[in-house]
Structure formats: C-alpha cells, structure tokens
C-alpha cells in the first residue's frame, strides 16, 4: 500500500512536472514569437516639397535572446533605410546602419537626432493618409507590424519637464 502510494505520488509528481515543463516550454515559445513589441511609431511631417520622411519607433524585447532588426518596409514607401544621425565636433552627420540589435530584456528607441528610418519615394498619397503600416524584419526571419502616425514634431514629454525646470529658474531669478 505504502509502496503503491509512493509509486502513485511519483507518477503524479512526474505528471505535474511534465505539465509544468510543457507549460513553460509553450510559454517561452510563445514569448519568443511575441517577445518583441513595437510601439510609439510616428513619422515627422515634412513639407510637401520633400520626398523623403523620417520615421521613429520603439522596439521592446521582452524575450531572453537579443533580436536584430535587419529591415523595414512599407507599402507607402518605395524604400526604407535605417540611419543614425550624429553630432561629431559640432557637425551634424548621418550614417547608414544595416542592422539594429535589441538586447534581451531591453529596448531601442529611434528618435530625432539619433536612429531613424529614412523613408524614401513616398506613394503619392503618403502625405494625406493618417497612418502608415511598417513591417519590421528580424534576422531570424520573424516580422512585426506597426502603424505609424504623422506628427509635426517629437512628442513633448521631454520639453514639458524642461519647461518646469525653466519656470523654477525664472522664479528664482525674479526673487534675487
């Protein structure tokens, strides 16, 4: 009786462990597929005379392995390249980037003055439509899609904080 109970418990434990392992495996497989989240995609509104646009987005990698972005495409543009704007010794320069690594558990943000999507040959309608679909391709062949909206400038989150700072200074300046 005791022996058979022990066997039962052993089998039950094994079953539980296997179920748990199966669950973990399936969760991790699911996480690998869906571990990349692309958010806050937007395109800088440009004057109509300009036939190239800059796009920005954030790629979050919730997985346990790094992911490498190797290409971006959109039905609204003939070609999209990845570029990096940099200021070197006070001079604004731009360089082509062939891939962008998103570390495991990390995120990469494309923003004005840094990494950006250089979006060339817009379809005639690109300036009039409010949202553009971007398809991101990673080096393992997986893809992610995101909708990008047109904006006149960067989201004001940063400058809002600075605004408060400068108000503080103004007050202090007035008091002395």
């Amino acid at each position: 009786m005791t022996a058979s109970l022990a066997t039962f418990l052993r089998i039950a434990l094994a079953a539980v462990l296997m179920t748990a392992a199966a669950l973990m495996w399936s969760t991790s497989a699911h996480a690998t597929c869906g571990s990349v989240h692309v958010t806050d995609a937007w395109i800088m509104k440009a004057p109509p005379v300009v036939k190239m646009h800059a796009g920005y987005l954030t790629i979050e990698n919730h997985g346990e392995t790094e992911r490498t972005l190797v290409g971006v495409a959109s039905p609204a543009y003939g070609r999209i390249e990845m570029h990096l704007s940099r200021e070197v010794d006070g001079v604004a320069t731009m360089q082509h980037v062939s891939q962008v690594v998103v570390p495991a558990g990390g995120a990469v943000t494309f923003r004005p003055g840094g990494l950006h999507l250089m979006m060339l040959q817009p379809e005639a309608s690109a300036a009039e439509i409010s949202e553009v679909i971007l398809h991101l391709t990673f080096d393992d062949g997986s893809t992610a899609g995101v909708g990008a909206v047109f904006r006149t400038g960067a989201p004001a989150a940063d400058s809002h904080d600075h605004g408060h700072d400068s108000h503080g200074h103004g007050d202090r300046g007035a008091g002395t």
Binding site: M44, K45, A46, P47, P48, V49, V50, M52, H53, A54, H83, S85, E87, D89, G90, V91, A92, T93, M94, P112, G113, H116, M118, M119, T152, G153, A154, S159, H162, G163, D165, S166, H167, H169, G170, G173
Partner: protein, 226 residues
C-alpha cells in the same frame, strides 16, 4: 552654499576665459558645446558665447525670386540662424519645428518688434534653391529660407566659423551633406553673439534671450529701439 559653489566656478571661468580668448573661438566652436555653468544661463542650455561678438560682413546669399540676403538684413533685430538642407529628413525638420516652438514661446514674452527672426541657410544649393522658401515656410510663415551658390555658402559658413561639406555622389545620385549643427544667435548689431546646441528648450531660450537683450541694451545705450 551657492557662494561656495560659485567661487570655484568663478575661478574656473577666470582661468578658462583667457584660454578661450587666446584660442580664438573658431577652435572652440568646432567642439561640442557644453552645458554652461554661468549663473545667468538657464538649465538645459548648451551654448558657446563669443568673448567678442563677431561681425558678419562680406557675404551675399539669396532668398529666392532674385532677391539677395546680405549683412544689412541681419541688422535691427535678433536672429536665430541654423544650417541644413531640404533633403535632410531627420535633424533639419526637427530643428526647424523646434525653432517654431521657440518662436511661439518668445512671441508670448517679447514685444512683436523685438521678436527674433529665424533664418534657415540651405547649404545644398542644387537641391535647396528650387524649394527652400516653400520648405521653410512650412514650419512657420515668418521663417526665412536662404541659400546661394556653393561659393557664397562657403564664404558665409566660414564667416561664422562653421563647417559644411558635400559628400561624393552614390550610384543612385544621392549624397551626404554635413554641416554645423549649432543654432547661431546674431544680435541687432549683425554680429554673432553665441552658438546654441539644439534642441532648444523654448522656456530656457526665452530666459536666455532676455538676458542677452538686457546685456545688449546696457552695452548699446545708443540703440534705443532695442
């Protein structure tokens, strides 16, 4: 507490001042502008102040429709001037929309006749000349876009100790353009007073400009309009 911090800063300024003046500002202007420690400079402003404001003369640019843009056009008002090119999708629209924010903030703070003009110098004449006016007015109807021949642009850029270079054309005909990133602050005397590193915080720049205008009025009592 502020005093104690202030003395080493003042000492550092005393030591660094002559070095800057001795080195000339052309050397310093090629480097990154640093966050200033001077008491009158608001937080978040990275600037380079010229020990002696530099006169801009001997240049001619074009503002479209055959009209020229010369030293006289920089007199009588403060000017924010930036370099760029119309085929620049990232930095240039960002700086121009940033200057539009600054302009809107300043419009709340200063008299309309004291509102700085904003000039965008397109340094890529082949691609900029046909469209620069339309391009710049997209960001603000009062912004002025100017360009010129390559030689005229080089003369102007060198006059402000800036930098501009066109890259070699690729197979598809595209090429890179490198240019000074700083926003140049020109006084009503037509002289370069400071260089600011973008992006500019509108509130901080408003305060910064107020200090500059106050100092200018103090130093130029004859210039009653300013």
């Amino acid at each position: 507490m502020r005093r104690r911090i202030g003395i080493p800063l003042a000492l550092a300024a005393l030591l660094a001042g002559p070095a800057l003046i001795y080195g000339g500002y052309s050397l310093a202007s090629r480097g990154d502008l640093v966050e200033s420690a001077r008491a009158e400079v608001p937080a978040g402003i990275r600037d380079l102040v010229l020990p002696k404001p530099k006169k801009l003369d001997g240049f001619v640019l074009e503002r479209g429709a055959g009209a020229s843009f010369g030293p006289d056009d920089l007199h009588g008002r403060w000017t924010f001037l930036s370099f760029g090119f119309t085929h620049c999708p990232d930095v240039c629209p960002f700086v121009l929309s940033n200057l539009a924010q600054v302009h809107a903030e300043l419009a709340l703070r200063v008299r309309p006749d004291n509102l700085p003009r904003v000039v965008f110098v397109g340094v890529d004449p082949a691609r900029d000349a046909p469209v620069i006016g339309e391009y710049v007015s997209h960001f603000h109807p009062d912004f002025l876009g100017v360009t010129g021949t390559w030689e005229q642009i080089v003369v102007f850029v060198e006059g402000v100790d800036g930098f501009v270079r066109l890259g070699k054309a690729r197979e598809d005909g595209s090429y890179d353009v490198r240019h000074s990133a700083a926003v140049i602050l020109i006084g009503p005397d037509g002289r370069v007073h400071a260089k600011l590193s973008p992006p500019l915080d509108p509130g901080a720049v408003g305060e910064y400009l107020a200090h500059k205008q106050l100092a200018y009025r103090r130093n130029h009592p004859e210039d009653v309009s300013r």
